[in-house]
């Protein structure tokens, strides 16, 4: 875990002045071993995704029925050239998992980016304009929150048609309310503060107040929520993939891989075990990171 100290700033801070915010943040964050472990796993997954072309031993879509359902290398009949075995049509599972990491990270990041972009704007608008606009936006978010998230996502995908893009849109919509609520709550607490009044008196327009003055001050909870949001997005997108509503075969998306391999669960344990393990570990890592970020960034929870 020592490799991760690279993240800390290299700037030497004079002892008399308060610690640099980044250093202070790292102090809180690194005290949480779970969070550091989560960060290490995420960095590893990112590296695997970036280097997929180099480290994957085989083409993820190359089929070869002659070697179908080969077990992992430590089992009888397995071979080291297919370390985690092969699937029912002879594709290398490890290579598919490696390329699947690209998809899962892409899903997590794109979904949360869409949600944050739309969510903060809606939240800022609700917080600044109050009145009917606010009631309308917040009621809509309440309705989305009331419905079971996966049910809503399933219904949306059923209407738009199955596919990775539609699944991502559906999940983005489902996690939207969290960002709207956060942004609105931050606006309401921030706008009563002196610096906003000062900016307003100096003639700043509403747009400037929203994005230049208030938004930077509510980034901490948004970052925490983003980390937790990525884990939800990966999990929900995988669930949609598993139901046949997300990424379509032969895509190596982890949930889709599980759905593909489901009927072989009785004959070949490895075809279902590894993709799910990949989902679990990645989601766990983002949850750990989110918890750690919350403890380190949220002053209300600092003890």
């Amino acid at each position: 875990m020592t490799t991760e100290t690279m993240e800390a700033p290299a700037i030497a801070v004079p002892t008399a002045t308060p610690p640099h915010p980044v250093r202070e943040f790292w102090g809180y964050f690194s005290a949480n071993h779970g969070a550091v472990a989560g960060l290490v796993i995420i960095v590893a997954v990112i590296l695997v995704a970036l280097l997929a072309d180099v480290i994957a031993p085989h083409d993820p879509n190359l089929t070869n029925t002659a070697i179908a359902l080969k077990p992992p290398f430590w089992q009888e009949g397995g071979s080291i050239s297919y370390p985690l075995g092969t699937d029912p049509i002879g594709r290398d599972i490890l290579s598919r998992l490696i390329y699947g990491a690209q998809l899962s990270l892409l899903i997590g990041i794109v979904v949360v980016a869409i949600s944050i972009a739309i969510g903060t704007v809606l939240g800022l608008v609700a917080g600044f304009f109050r009145g009917l606009t606010e009631i309308f936006i917040m009621r809509l978010m309440d309705i989305i929150l009331t419905l079971p998230s996966l049910l809503l996502a399933i219904v949306i995908v059923a209407v738009l048609g199955p596919g990775l893009m539609n699944a991502m849109l559906a999940v983005a919509l489902v996690i939207l309310p969290h960002y709207v609520r956060l942004a609105r709550a931050a606006v309401i607490t921030e706008t009563s503060k002196d610096y906003v009044t000062a900016a307003r008196v100096s003639g700043a327009g509403t747009t400037r107040l929203m994005f230049r003055e208030v938004l930077p001050n509510c980034t901490a909870p948004l970052i925490v929520q983003a980390s937790l949001g990525i884990s939800t997005a990966i999990l929900d997108a995988a669930a949609l993939g598993f139901l046949g509503l997300g990424a379509q075969p032969p895509s190596p998306e982890w949930g889709t891989m599980l759905a593909d391999a489901r009927e072989f669960v009785l004959r070949a344990w490895w075809v279902v075990t590894f993709p799910g393990l990949a989902i679990l570990i990645t989601v766990l890592a983002f949850n750990l990171l989110g918890d750690g970020l919350r403890d380190a960034l949220d002053p209300k929870l600092k003890r």
Binding site: R139, D142, T146, S149, F242, L245, R262, V265
Partner: protein, 346 residues
């Protein structure tokens, strides 16, 4: 001990406010279901009628009946009126009214969901309480670690792994279904655990129990993790309060302090969390029922998607939404009733 004074009027006002808050939510859900069919590319009547097509005369008749020639707001009004009368259309595949299909399948989902939440409570509450009392012990770290894993669990995978372990390796539990095909149980309540006990075949009950075990664990895992975490943090908060110190100073036994003084107050946030888990439970039921071929509403909805049975999808989603909304309302009311602070401030 005298009961705390409370006015019936304040209580009534509290209940009425909460109930009135669900009206916009209900309208939102119906709007969503209403636009659902209209977002499907193509002619909505043909969408509703299915792939077999429809003759022009009937098409015209349906167009009038649903009001497709009228403005959209009138169409919504017609739809809302039908929904309020319990008319959710007919399945394109079976021609059965959607409401009938839902109500015949829903008991299977409720049975599964109830078992899952009981499973989660029976394990989660004690685990959370003990973890809080023995804070920073190995047990505490273990519970927190496992619950974090449970919280991150892709349950559709978890189900397959449990099948792999218990059904394939040890041959202990069946792979799918609700009961052995040998038995035919007359549905009286719709809950197989009760119906089999009422029947004259006692082995049928054990068959039903056996079929329930794995789905219950799978569906209960996420709520279990959440309940254990929540109970622990609520207990920790309460154990730091002054009245606990007073109780300790009075020399009360550790058990009395935990069971009588701390637990009661710690349970208030836990109840809310359990309520919020109901929505999660129905979401999980969709996945769990798909894995175990459990004949409930979750599997029914997924099947409807692949059969392009849009009336079932529309009506089913609406009904599930309304069920979750109602449960949330009940939890909200229960919360107000057990927590006097909420009741009096609102």
């Amino acid at each position: 001990m005298a009961a705390p004074p409370f006015s019936v009027l304040a209580m009534l006002r509290f209940i009425l406010t909460r109930v009135s808050l669900i009206i916009p939510t209900f309208i939102g859900i119906t709007l969503l279901a209403f636009f659902l069919i209209r977002l499907v590319p193509g002619d909505p009547i043909e969408t509703l009628a299915g792939e077999r097509g429809i003759d022009p005369a009937r098409h015209e008749q349906l167009r009038k009946e649903y009001g497709f020639d009228k403005p959209i707001i009138v169409q919504y009004g017609i739809y809302l009126a039908r929904v309020l009368q319990g008319d959710l259309g007919k399945s394109m595949i079976t021609q059965e009214p959607v409401l009938n299909e839902f109500s015949s399948l829903f008991p299977a989902t409720i049975e599964l969901a109830l078992c899952a939440i009981i499973f989660a409570l029976v394990l989660g509450l004690p685990a959370g309480i003990i973890a809080a009392i023995r804070r920073n012990s190995i047990f505490d770290h273990g519970v927190m670690g496992i619950s974090l894993a449970g919280y991150s669990m892709p349950i559709f995978w978890w189900g397959l792994i449990l099948i792999l372990l218990f059904s394939v390796q040890f041959d202990l539990t069946p792979v799918s279904g609700r009961i052995d095909v040998l038995y035919y149980i007359e549905p009286i309540t719709g809950f197989l655990l009760i119906d089999t006990l009422l029947s004259d075949e006692p082995e049928a009950f054990w068959s039903a129990v056996n079929h329930l075990i794995l789905p219950t664990i799978v569906l209960g895992t996420v709520p279990l993790a959440v309940i254990a975490r929540m109970t622990r943090s609520a207990m920790l908060e309460v154990l730091g309060e002054d009245y606990i110190r007073t109780a300790k100073a009075k020399g009360l036994s550790r058990f009395r302090i935990v069971a009588l003084h701390a637990l009661r107050n710690a349970l208030i946030p836990v109840v809310t969390v359990i309520g919020l888990q109901i929505g999660v439970l129905f979401t999980g039921a969709i996945l769990t029922e798909t894995i175990f071929s459990w004949p409930g509403v979750g599997k029914w909805l997924i099947d409807a998607i692949f059969r392009r049975d849009y009336p079932v999808l529309q009506g089913g989603a609406l009904l599930l939404g309304v069920v979750v909304m109602s449960v949330n309302l009940l939890v909200d009311l229960a919360y107000g009733l057990i927590n006097p602070r909420i009741r009096h401030t609102r």
